[in-house]
Symmetry: C2
Subunit: 247 residues, 2 copies
Amino acid sequence: MTDQSFSRDTLEARLRQIGEERYHDKHPFHHRLHTGECTMDQVQAWVINRWYYQASIPMKDAAFMSRCTDPQLRRIWRSRIEDHDGGTAEGGGIRRWLKLAEAVGLDPDYVASGQGVMPATRFAVDAYVRFVRDAPLIAAMASSLTEMFAPAIHTRRIEGLLEHYDFATTETLAYFSQRLNEAPKDVNFTLHWVLDHALTRADQEAAIAALTFKTDVLWAQLDALWHGYVTGQAPPGAWQPGEGQLG
Amino acid sequence: MTDQSFSRDTLEARLRQIGEERYHDKHPFHHRLHTGECTMDQVQAWVINRWYYQASIPMKDAAFMSRCTDPQLRRIWRSRIEDHDGGTAEGGGIRRWLKLAEAVGLDPDYVASGQGVMPATRFAVDAYVRFVRDAPLIAAMASSLTEMFAPAIHTRRIEGLLEHYDFATTETLAYFSQRLNEAPKDVNFTLHWVLDHALTRADQEAAIAALTFKTDVLWAQLDALWHGYVTGQAPPGAWQPGEGQLG
């Protein structure tokens, strides 16, 4: 540790502060969603666009493993892919997301096709996958630490959706309740790994920048969603209300 | 299918022909190894350098999953990573390779460090990982089809090593016997997938070129091994006999 490096506690506090300042639980779109102000068109637009993020997460974790030369770290990381993709027959976060899609009245095949996803959503998510593949290892790991902040927003979302929307049931919101079980194990491991390995100021700053970048990835998706479906200026080729409805 | 495309049977025959012409079972280093002509230094050099290939296979399969947008294909492919990396506590091909390393008198930690691996080995293996990440999907899949030819060489190797070397036992050669169980499921799936999806002549030629490329990756590693440790001109920084021995 050099003189200018942060203490372990300070680094953890800096990382947590990013959540307080920039995590997408502060985004006005989430406020609308969780307080019942979203129209069903806006809910559908959210489900369609966030599908692209959900479906890219296993690719992001595979990208991490593709550049991770430590077998033990790969073995631990692999459970993230299992959590999201599930088995060949059943299970997994992305299948649960398609259940939510059905519940809000969308054809799950339409949603799974990725058709109608806004380019801005793709750009943000693809930037995340590339970051995790190419950035230094500590930064790649730190970028996943938004999961530190996820349980609070998932809890808030489950409560808000159950209160305000007919489609919301324990079953249709299973994606979020399941993440409450899965995320703590991932974040606990990764936070400790980052705190253990980011010992120089340069590595600590890289971890902070990586987590900041990840909050940008999440925020940009909601900005695009607001512009497209609250302001009402969805770009050419993007989903239009009424498309992809359950048959 | 266009007029100029191969029939399914012709494509399969073309792919199998690559094995007959170019698979590394024909390489003179393997002839030496399997007939007991290798010195123990040469066996150790082989184990050290091939470690880099073995250890990169899960990264290669993760690279495939990182660019694979079909969740079901990812779910099926994931078992390859499980086979090679094993669980967090035990199992997996790379742990079995380190057992072989110990059996031939090498310190498994030295082998696992990758120290002493020849640059030519790294260049060939790294080219394979990049190919699988970046090439069109059919080519990326077809490059794994050298597994069609692997059972024969593994069987020959187990017999040859058991006959000629004291270190060889059913236990120390478990890496190879286990691959005899695993490879057929992978190759059966992938061969059928490639035959089902490579319908245009362009895609069929890409599959043939990818498998040819993969045989080059394997062959180049043995050429480097021969030059380094049979001809006896190992490059600067490469393992020297006597290094990394079991304490």
